[in-house]
Symmetry: none
């Protein structure tokens, strides 16, 4: 089978997403992860667009890559100017990459409304830019900007622009759905027509596809282009990109390799996909999408007893692929439908091996059902689940006990609102009675607890609350209903979630915060 080339633009197009701003260090770390993953091309940035990208390419000279070629991005020369005199092109040559990706207008509307030049001049810009880059010893990828709109509105001009790039020596012609508005059917028709044209004109260049997710079909659009002969696929890790994002390589890669039979990377490299996805979201400082295809924490999560026993008898019944093939894992959710098999599986995950009929397992199951009837939900609170198991097995370590709690919140004449908390905490024989302020009762309580504990357990200083979620159960009872609180904590090296339920939001929060601290301490102990 023909080879498909993955082209990653996380560091250029992906960085356009609102909220992402990679440092030079970030970009280098991501580039090396992409190299480990085995993508064929890494688009590093746009020299001259910002100082960060210039510095990145400078730093790159000292780096070596095992699997990936790095490309620098630039536009065609400006109108009415010789390519040699164009500042942007000087900068892209200075980046010193083997490959340069240059984009040009293929939609007559943009030549007028965007560039405000003539159709002829735009063709000259494309041809002379590619020729100049080739003459300067670069290998060239040509991005046909707005290809699909342009080809639909004025096919002759679109084809002429593409031909200009090929004639000048571009090795790849990448058809871009810049506005992301296309549907797979339109992609198939357009790519089919282009392929026929290239064969008729016998243009040597390979075809590529660059799609955006504005119709939520970016991945399918790229696959449709591959069906019709595209051999280079552009995308970003986690589908990051402006507006609705770019085609998501974390879905494209396994779709192409596991379902369409192309070999893009080695099985071991594919096995790192989930790690790469999470790594990039960490570096971008964005929460990973738990519901992402293939790499999301929920992608292979199963609920319900019968369902679970079926999956364990034969994974095929409810899993479209083997989770481990993309470095993900099956998750059995502990929920009120939890059957024996769920629990045994979860216990094994925690390192406790039991026989199916061990009374301890029945005891744990009964405790869980009891607590879930009271509004607890351990699906998302695995740390509290582990503490509960240790409790049932009588191996839960008593680090401290809360003997008293008081929180107050009041408005002052200056309209400000202040919260204060007081706690009585026993550690062994010692009783700590401390107080602290906070933005709200929970942060005051959290601060007071740490203050009481840090003298006994210095590692408490490194722990902090990462997230706090509140849900009211059976909402139609209003604020007198049960309150379920989920707290996510971190000690810098890991994250864990705990739960508290009570009619009183303060008590529920207190339970979750306390278990968060306790789990952190037991974690440090191991």
């Amino acid at each position: 089978m023909e080879r498909i080339y993955l082209y990653d633009t996380t560091l250029r197009d992906g960085a356009q997403r609102e909220g992402i701003s990679f440092s030079v260090e970030d970009k280098l770390r991501v580039a090396h992860k992409l190299d480990d993953l085995g993508v064929a091309f890494i688009e590093g940035g746009w020299p001259g667009a910002n100082p960060k990208d210039d510095l990145f390419f400078e730093r790159l000279r000292g780096e070596s890559f095992k699997h990936s070629a790095v490309a620098a991005f630039c536009s065609t020369r400006r109108p009415g100017l010789r390519a040699e005199a164009d500042e942007g092109l000087k900068k892209v040559l200075a980046a010193g990459t083997e490959w340069v990706t240059t984009f040009g207008k293929c939609w007559d509307l943009h030549v007028h409304a965007g560039l405000r030049t003539s159709l002829e001049e735009n063709l000259a810009m494309i041809e002379e830019t590619v020729a100049f880059l080739r003459f300067s010893g670069r290998r060239v990828i040509f991005d046909c900007e707005h290809w699909f709109d342009g080809f639909a509105k004025n096919p002759d001009y679109a084809l002429a622009s593409l031909q200009a790039a090929a004639r000048a020596g571009a090795e790849w012609l990448v058809l871009c759905d810049t506005n992301g508005g296309m549907l797979p059917k339109q992609i198939r028709e357009s790519v089919g027509a282009v392929r026929a044209f290239c064969e008729a004109q016998d243009l040597a260049a390979g075809l590529g596809i660059h799609t955006h997710n504005d119709s939520e079909t970016a991945v399918a659009n790229a696959l449709a282009a591959v069906e019709l002969g595209a051999r280079m696929v552009h995308g970003t890790i986690n589908g990051y990109g402006e507006r609705c994002g770019n085609a998501n390589l974390c879905a494209l890669l396994p779709n192409l390799q596991l379902k369409m039979g192309y070999e893009l990377v080695s099985p071991d490299q594919l096995g790192c996909l989930t790690e790469v996805a999470h790594f990039v979201s960490e570096v971008a400082n964005l929460a990973p999408n738990d519901h992402a295809a293939y790499v999301g924490a929920s992608a292979f999560a199963h609920k319900g007893g019968i369902h679970v026993s079926a999956v364990q008898r034969n994974p095929q019944t409810y899993e479209h692929i083997v989770p481990e093939s993309v470095g993900n894992r099956r998750r059995i959710l502990v929920s009120d439908q939890a059957g024996l098999s769920n629990i045994l599986h979860k216990l094994a995950d925690l390192g406790f091996r039991f026989e199916r009929h061990d009374p301890a397992v029945a005891h744990i199951l009964q405790q869980i059902k009891q607590l879930e009837a009271e509004g607890y939900q351990f699906e998302a609170a695995e740390a509290s689940f582990e503490l509960l198991v240790r409790e049932c097995l009588k191996v839960r370590e008593p680090f401290f006990t809360l003997e008293g709690l008081y929180t107050a919140c009041q408005t002052f004449p200056d309209q400000s609102v202040r919260s204060e908390a007081t706690v009585r905490v026993r550690v062994g024989r010692a009783l700590q009675h401390t107080a602290a302020d906070g933005n709200g009762p929970v942060s005051a309580l959290d601060a007071a607890l740490r203050k009481a504990l840090v003298g006994f357990y210095p590692q408490v200083a490194s722990m902090h609350l990462v997230d706090y979620k509140v849900r009211i159960l059976e909402g139609n009872l209003g604020t007198s209903a049960l309150t379920r609180v989920l707290v996510e904590s971190s000690d810098g090296t890991g994250r864990w979630t705990t739960i508290g339920v009570s009619p009183n939001i303060i008590e529920a929060s207190c339970r979750a915060v306390i278990e968060g601290l306790e789990y952190g301490l037991s974690r440090g102990r191991r």
Copy 2:
């Protein structure tokens, strides 16, 4: 052109998403929003699966819908049992809906591994279940569970199961990609073959498609099925659903209507799509996806420079559709004039008619943007929006003002936790200083406020809190982040929702509760 029927399963399949737990009230509010949007079918739930769904169908008897038919969901009868004797089927009939959607196994593997019965018995289960439902006066939709895997592995058996349902009188045969592993190409081939089979056997039933997003192609898969003749499309608002979610109706609907030319809803209904998407995410207490196709806050966000001037000269240059056609708006960082028409529209709803260029409108728009920048969010808080408008127009009635607030929460030696609140409330010249207990600080506060007001406004006695939702904004700051509280209140004759935002959960709750009481009073006045 043939009609396409939208089938929404947000309330059943969508509710399978980890973390979603709709109350009965939530389900009713969502159902009415879906009716306003104009979906053809609303799958309300699975009678007998949980008490909440039973109560929901009970409550439905009192409700009327303008555009949507409600369907109840159930499985085929259990093996070795007469349909009349099956508890699940009794419950689904008791729900009293015109339409029933029943699902059966179409993959021989599942008949063995899942049901553990014979292939013949499974066909009998399908045929007898459909026949029994028809005999009981129901119109039937048959979900062909695991259709695509089943058809790939054992086409004859898959077709036999589908034929059994059609023969017994199912009006729709819905092909389900239950594991979400299919790609558009496979969908096209399978649906094409089924269609040919149905014509050959002249089965009268229409074809439907039900896809999941495990390959990130759920939307494209549904569109591929429509290309090949499917006329019922299943999905959920925001693509909610287990694992990676269901096909996203918020992308499917505009793709079908704006790009493929089918008319599923009126232009005005399509114009509410963004509001419906945000409403459902608020009710589900999940943050909306800013990068969602069509309805995301970033879907039509443009960065500065040439790009922006081009888009202002000709929106076509960078927008695949007109944002307002789906109720979204272009976001441009500098001098954003968008949103004006939304405001005018909302003001008209409230009975205030203004010219486009009336300074009062600009003032309101500016106030809203200010508050939204502070974390306010008015989609699901119409009552607070109205109070804000009246404030801007200087027609907000001052029923009372809170001059002081104090809440305390403490544990007692008997391990019980009690909350108390004290309020200073001014009504005209009079100052009320009262206190009350509660299950938590918010219910104590609510009780104290009513106690202070009921002497002046007896109708306060009939008002009560119906629901209370909390969301932490910028979760990575933990409990010190901004807290957004939504409170739903009722006076027995109507319901309204108010919002409060503050770093302090007590203050945020207090604002929402106070506006809830104030809106109730102004409502009573009119």
